[in-house]
Symmetry: C2
Subunit: 406 residues, 2 copies
């Protein structure tokens, strides 16, 4: 059994690095604060006798040897970086739950057959340097190292320089081949576990994602003298499409999602009909055919609105992730561990992207969700209970032991 | 008959002050460029033998005496200030058309019974110092001088200081009592004259305006893990209300207008459901009861949307102008002048606010519209033809003569 108090203490100690006044964390990737959190993590891992490897994109691997050091390792972990107004648990929980597993094994003097490793993936949030999940993306070959190094932040600093500057551009060659399975603990970032009164989410996979940038161009004109019939109002088109996106997502329940998060009006004056609107579209579904169908319906709705209001429309795909179905071995291991420990649990699909999704493309992967208060994350008020975090960590321990062998 | 070439030349000369690379004008109120345009106008008026008065808010009155100098004057004019990316005709046309009337009278040695005056109203655009129509608002007692002087620009300079700095905080006491009628020439700022092939718009009045700020507050949440049914999406509410505004305006044609010009999403991230949207509403109608009904329907639609999506809603009125019906004497004078001159003309309702609307509350007022290219104004590409501008000016001359008597 893992130690609830020790896990919570470590989470709180880590949360001091980059702590914000409202109780959150601002610890963006490849900053001085990111460096400090890495140092603390490594210090803790070394104290447990782990060896440390750092790869070219700065992923940190801490290894506890198994009886059979040639056997592929059972890996766990998540990320230490945060959103600018992030919380204390998103990412860091998955890293420190892995550390807690190692501490528990050491304390109980348990030797596993396969080695156990904990990883802190670089730049999962992608807010300073896009895209997100950069560390696991490079590790799994989904993203190219050189391209990632060239990505720049708002000050024009590139990711390669920034990583070098904090001393974490590593030289260790770590590859997915020697990994038997990957597990990731994470807060749910949604309201379902809380809503249903479950402590553990057995994550069976993740929604596919399609992101778009949509630009609607009409004619900027004076709001007073321009009759309704002679308008080419880009905002009216944007409103129609926003509702269409919602309708499309609602058609394909329970897994459909459709969100307009950004909308910029030009010129943005109260008595001028907007001549241009730039908006974003985020569509998700668990079934890839359905996700394609949703995108097709979006395109059709854009076309209809374009014609109806005399607009020009440009729809550009900016991200496209296929749905992920995790390996039954890992999902089963998590479910069995939850059963054995008597945790209330349910199967759940991750609505968000995670490092585990990239890992699922190169090895067997699984995830463990625990509830977060009101489903809120990416927010300084993000919260989770010591007991739920501990339950998830315990499930992780037993799922890993099943895969590693004792 | 007024002189087309002279009018056009004066317009082009004035357009050099604050000329922008794209062919427009940036001559905002109470700036050095505003000062230069005032100096040029006064120089031209003095050359015609006019006496000049400047009141406390900086309105400039140029007077050509009549046979009966005690008789109330027939006044015309508009404004010299422009939008930051304004055009060469909005406002300045009305001032220089008035000057052209005086030049024509002098040239033809015509003596009018009543005095003729031309006014350049201060700060009609209201972009540096809100609100718009500040000069005519103070003159007609609709706005308070002290309050207007206290209005600040983005740099914290107040309007009183700025007016003082350009030397146009005048000491002449000018009041509406001695005005018999006011006429204003203006580009239409809309597409109706062009659409119908008319040269002159006989403006019978102006739409009433109701402006609102609307804030919708829902719950900021992650676009992936948050199911559609558990969302409180402020943007979805904003889209519904945008469509309702359009529907309401379309119900009350031909005079209904409804526009959403500003929409700001918080936090404005592509994978976050907007927790808050701030938007503006601009509603207009020619009938005040109908305008009230439109506002009531807006409030009802906001309430329905609020309930449907679990939002909070705050609707604040930010401007409220009653519809204006111009005096039949002035409207008739304009119509008769257009008939007499053989100009194609139509009755039209001004969709925008103008100084003449405030003037209509203290004296008889009327307006003359001429077409502007594609109905576009408040834009550097704003355009009008020398011939249309001249026709409008000629109508102004004859309408004023009818009122002033020869
Ligand atoms: N976990 C997480 O917040 N990932 C960000 C990418 C997404 O929007 O799913
Ligand atoms: N003429 C003009 O543009 N007035 C501004 C106020 C309005 O929106 O009507």
């Amino acid at each position: 059994r893992t130690n609830q108090h020790r896990l919570w203490q470590s989470l709180m100690e880590m949360a001091r690095i980059g702590a914000t006044p409202k109780g959150g964390v601002n610890r963006q990737a490849f900053t001085e604060l990111d460096r400090q959190s890495r140092e603390l993590f490594i210090e803790w891992c070394r104290a447990e006798g782990c060896s440390i490897r750092i790869d070219a994109i700065g992923n940190i691997f801490a290894r506890r040897e198994g009886q059979n050091s040639d056997s592929p390792a059972v890996l766990t972990g998540s990320h230490l970086d945060s959103q600018p107004t992030g919380g204390k648990f998103d990412g860091v929980y998955g890293v420190l739950a892995g550390l807690e597993v190692i501490r528990t094994l050491n304390e109980s003097d348990i030797q596993t057959c396969a080695p156990i490793e904990v990883v802190a993936w670089s730049n999962e949030e992608g807010c300073r340097f896009a895209p997100c999940m950069m560390g696991s993306g490079v590790f799994t070959g989904q993203l190219k190292l050189e391209e990632m190094f060239a990505r720049t932040d708002d000050d024009g600093v590139n990711a390669g320089q920034a990583l070098e500057a904090i001393g974490y551009r590593g030289t260790d060659h770590v590859t997915p081949e020697n990994i038997k399975a990957f597990f990731e603990c994470h807060i749910e970032q949604g309201p379902i576990l809380e809503d249903t009164g479950n402590t553990v989410g057995v994550v069976v996979g993740a929604l596919g994602q399609k992101w778009f940038d949509l630009t609607l161009t009409g004619l900027e004109a004076h709001a007073g003298p321009t009759p309704m019939t002679l308008r080419r109002d880009a905002m009216l088109g944007a409103a129609e499409i926003t509702q269409a996106i919602n309708r499309i997502a609602n058609t394909y329940q329970p897994h459909g999602r459709g969100t307009v998060g950004v909308m910029q009006l030009h010129p943005g004056s109260r008595n001028v009909i907007p001549g241009q609107v730039k908006m974003t579209v985020d569509m998700r579904h668990f079934d890839s055919n359905t996700l394609e169908k949703m995108a097709a319906e979006l395109r059709q709705s854009v076309e209809e609105t374009r014609q109806r209001h005399g607009l020009e429309a440009e729809l550009v795909a900016t991200a496209d992730f296929a749905p992920e179905h995790f390996a039954e071995a890992c999902v089963g291991a998590v479910r069995r561990a939850a059963e054995m420990l008597g945790c209330s649990h349910m199967d759940i699909v991750s609505g968000a992207g995670h490092d585990a999704i990239f890992m699922g493309r190169v090895t067997q992967a699984g995830m463990i969700f625990v509830p977060c208060e009101n489903g809120i994350s990416h927010n300084e008020i993000e919260n989770a209970t010591p007991s739920d975090l501990h339950d998830g960590c315990n499930v992780l321990l037993h799922a890993m032991l099943e895969q590693a062998g004792v």
